[in-house]
């Protein structure tokens, strides 16, 4: 097994792929979460009827396979909008919207979990709607939503492997390139899996840490 043709250069190549995976994931999770909070708050605030168009729009991103979203999104940007945008940017845009659709659901669930009486207490003290959101609702919703959100972020990281279809060479694609060249699939996939684990583990642990800290309240 250690009799391998893998060179230090190849490892650097893999690490670069891992870097792309981290970058695409980080950008998409940050933008997707911000959008998801916005969409989730809008949905709660408008109620099911008025928010129906937004809900429908978000449902598209939750129900169409990501691979198809990426290919169609790329075609839409290039052929319909006639924009010269890199595959990396397209990947980030599509993955951000995809993340935001799931995140909006998580945010909505978190906000709904805050008891009405708690919000009434806040408003009756003279807090504005925005102050109630900022100091009461979002902190409490975050505690409820955190485990699902960690799951979403980890899922997005794994799903980001699909961005190869828009010509982005992330970790899994880099691995495949090496597999084609070196013909050592098991060994290379093992290394690739180890990379994914090293990326995910801190996030999962961080979530566990926050949950434990908040459970003292």
């Amino acid at each position: 097994m250690f009799d391998t043709a893998l060179t230090a250069n190849d490892l650097v190549f893999l690490a670069k792929g891992a870097g792309i995976t981290i970058l695409v994931t980080a950008i998409s999770v940050v933008i997707g979460t911000l959008l998801g909070i916005l969409f989730g708050v809008i949905r709660v605030q408008l109620g099911p009827v008025l928010a129906a168009p937004l809900t429908f729009f978000l449902d598209i991103f939750r129900s169409v396979p990501l691979l198809i979203q990426l290919v169609l999104g790329n075609a839409f940007v290039g052929m319909v909008l006639q924009l010269q945008i890199s595959g990396f940017t397209v990947a980030c845009i599509v993955l951000s919207l995809y993340t935001s659709a799931y995140c909006a659901e998580i945010v909505r669930g978190g906000i709904d979990a805050v008891p009405e009486i708690t919000r009434r207490a806040a408003r009756s003290l003279g807090l504005t709607w925005g102050q109630d959101m900022r100091y009461i609702v979002l902190p409490l919703a975050t505690r409820v939503a955190l485990p699902s959100w960690i799951g979403l972020a980890l899922g997005v990281m794994k799903d980001s492997a699909l961005v190869y279809v828009v010509q982005v060479t992330e970790l899994l694609k880099s691995t495949q390139i090496l597999i084609t060249r070196l013909q050592e699939p098991l060994f290379l996939l093992l290394i690739c899996g180890a990379f994914y684990f090293v990326i995910s583990f801190p996030l999962a642990r961080f979530g566990g840490y926050l949950e434990k800290r908040w459970s003292n309240d």
């Binding site: 009486i117 708690t118 207490a121 003290l125 003279g126 505690r143 309240d217």
Partner: protein
């Protein structure tokens, strides 16, 4: 002065307040008694504008609560309310629960808000619980914290909605004592309560609600000893 004039309010088809008239003077303690579903809680949430009304008028010191031009957030600074259900902010310590509104609503500096909060918390007997989280408090302590939280805004009026009815019997006394103390200090209060002894002791006037109507109002002696309305008589016969 709180003036309630011919206030009507429905939830869907259900008319919950059917033309309520009530004026509460500065320094007065009015308790509201009545059966479940008679509209007592609804009236309180209408007074501080948490619920809209269908018709009529509620004014607080001359400001019409439900007028479009009224800044409700500002008006609520002078009307504190404590609810039946516990309503602590669970992610904040007792001290932070109490300082939040003075800091964010009144723009007080942290130290100043904390000094006021400590004073109010000591006042209700929670001086040793400042850094505790609400989940570690008993129900009675939570309600007293909610009272301190409202008082920290230096309100001119306090509304209490059955603040003892979710408590174990042995914790009721400590909360009622706190309310009595406030009444003696001259706070203007409207208290919805099921505690007839308390109503008798602290009230200037007692109002009896029945199915969305204020069937009777009078001095405690008169209302408890010589109720005029047949529904009041029936209600009092049952709670005794």
């Amino acid at each position: 002065m709180i003036e309630i004039q011919n206030v009507r309010k429905s939830f869907g088809d259900l008319e919950v307040l059917k033309g309520i008239d009530l004026t509460v003077q500065k320094g007065e303690v009015v308790t509201v008694i009545g059966g479940s579903g008679s509209g007592k809680s609804t009236l309180l949430t209408c007074i501080n504008g948490l619920e809209p009304i269908d018709s009529g008028r509620i004014t607080i010191d001359g400001t019409e609560v439900h007028a479009k031009s009224t800044n409700l957030n500002k008006l609520r600074r002078k009307v504190g309310i404590v609810f039946q259900q516990w309503n602590a902010f669970p992610h904040l310590t007792v001290l932070e629960n109490v300082t939040l509104a003075p800091r964010k609503v009144l723009g007080m500096a942290k130290a100043e808000a904390e000094a006021i909060a400590e004073k109010q918390l000591r006042h209700v007997g929670l001086g040793d619980k400042l850094t505790t989280y609400p989940s570690r408090l008993s129900g009675g302590q939570q309600q007293r914290m909610a009272i301190a939280r409202a008082l920290a805004m230096s309100p001119d009026y306090m509304l209490f909605d059955e603040v003892t009815s979710a408590l174990d019997p042995q914790l009721v006394g400590e909360v009622l004592e706190t309310l009595k103390m406030l009444a003696e200090e001259g706070m203007t209060m409207i208290c919805v309560t099921h505690e007839m002894g308390f109503a008798r002791d602290v009230s200037n006037r007692v109002a009896f609600f029945h199915q969305g109507i204020m069937a009777e109002i009078g001095a405690p002696d008169q209302l408890f000893n010589d109720p005029q309305h047949p529904e009041t008589q029936k209600f009092l016969a049952n709670v005794r």
